[in-house]
Amino acid sequence: MDSRLFKARNWPFCLIGIITALMCLGWADSWQGLRETAATVSTVKAGFVQEKHMKILARPLISHGNFLFQAPDSLQWEYTQPVKSVLVLHKGQTRRYVDKEGVLVEDATAGLQSMQMVVQQITQWLNGRFDENPAFSAVLEPGPKIVMTPTETALARLIQRIEIELSNRPAVIESVTIYESEDSYTRLVFQNVTLNMPLDDTAFSITK
């Protein structure tokens, strides 16, 4: 095959490749870029693996689960292993259900309030609004990575910092690492991310 012909025939594909690469570089270059890219996303579906690292652990605690998001503020955070549970933020309400011997039981404790804050924070990130929570100062670093540091002392006692690694694929978060201290952190790695898949109305309703 003539190499010049090959190049000529394929230049549109090369161009598309270059444009995509530039988009990938560009989507996480600025807060504005993040917001604009996130605005193109209506739903996110992903699996995740969570590692809990602590100094006292002989080996990290590993959990698996699934993640579902629908813009602007519906979120389902489901653990399938080792403990089955699901946290749902939908229509302004946060609910958590736990599998007890095959039956989903609702958790109705005050402990849920802190999780409500966390899931609301996550929906902000998924809407590309990383820099809008006054409780954190956010810095966009090469990687691309966003490092969020608490601005208030009370919160800083609980969370040292949060690192969000962005994928080169626009609008996709690769991992989130929440540092409670240098040797105690939780890392969530997202897998098989699907964007903009259609969801029906029942996606965020729990069947007990």
């Binding site: 969570q50 809990k52 602590m54 006292i56 652990l57 002989a58 080996r59 605690l61 959990s63 955070w77 653990y79 080792p82 403990v83 549970s85 946290l87 958590r96 736990v98 007890k100 039981v105 958790d107 109705a108 404790t109 005050a110 402990g111 802190s114 999780m115 966390v118 609980l158 929440i178 409670e180 105690s184 939780t186």
Partner: protein, 233 residues
């Protein structure tokens, strides 16, 4: 009003006069060491235990958490980390004769809570340190191992059936304070290798009573193996 007060006084007198269930002589007397009931379901050696916790609190509230306990039966020490199901640490404390709180988030951020958690952990996971141990059976012929503690409290270790122990903690006035049911339900891989209970239910009695149901998720042996095989404490 007078009759209610009288009723309360009588009830108070009745409760203060509570007595331990009578201990009857067993048919086959044996030593503490050879008595299965006295062995209980206690992890021997050093372990990392990971449980789900269902907490039934006053006011019919039920909450779910996970608990990580790293313990040494030899040292009688434990570190306890309580997390949300999503892995956020809400309480982290250590007990090695005294309680040290490493981290605590409201509503877990008070010393009384930490003391209570560590007292419950000792009751569940450590063999009682008794001044005196007596063995026998209860009126229903269930074997019991009675421990008289240095502070005057009493712990009865009852063995109603195979793989099921009940621990009853009585105050020095003989009122029951805590009941712990420990059992082995399933022989799953990674569990019950050395007789660690895979389901524990602790009931704290009293006006602000609560129930904790612990389901074992993972038990990882740590430290030297000989401490577990030989049952060193």
């Amino acid at each position: 009003m007078k009759s209610i007060s009288l009723l309360l006084v009588v009830a108070g007198l009745f409760l203060s006069c509570a007595s331990l269930p009578p201990l009857h002589q067993a048919h086959r007397p044996m030593s503490v060491e050879s008595n299965q009931t006295c062995q209980g379901l206690y992890p021997l050696g050093e372990w990392q235990l990971y449980h789900t916790i269902e907490a039934k609190l006053p006011g019919r509230q039920t909450g779910f958490l996970t608990g990580l306990t790293v313990l040494s039966s030899r040292e009688r020490s434990a570190q306890c980390v309580i997390m949300t199901l999503e892995g956020f640490v809400v309480f982290d404390a250590r007990y090695d004769g005294q309680v040290t709180i490493n981290r605590a988030v409201a509503p877990f951020d008070n010393h009384a809570f930490a003391q209570g958690v560590m007292a419950d952990i000792q009751l569940i996971f450590f063999k009682p340190l008794a001044d005196e141990i007596s063995m026998g059976v209860l009126s229903d012929n269930v074997p019991v191992c009675r421990h008289l503690l240095p502070d005057g409290n009493v712990i009865d270790l009852v063995n109603p059936e195979n793989n099921h122990w009940e621990t009853r903690l009585y105050r020095s006035n003989h009122r029951v304070m805590r009941i712990v049911q420990s059992m082995i339900k399933d022989k799953l891989p990674g569990k019950n290798l050395t007789g660690i209970a895979d389901k524990i239910e602790l009931t704290a009695l009293g006006t602000s009573g609560y129930t904790l149901i612990l389901d074992l998720v993972e038990a990882i042996p740590i430290g030297p193996e000989d401490s577990r095989i030989q049952g060193v404490e």
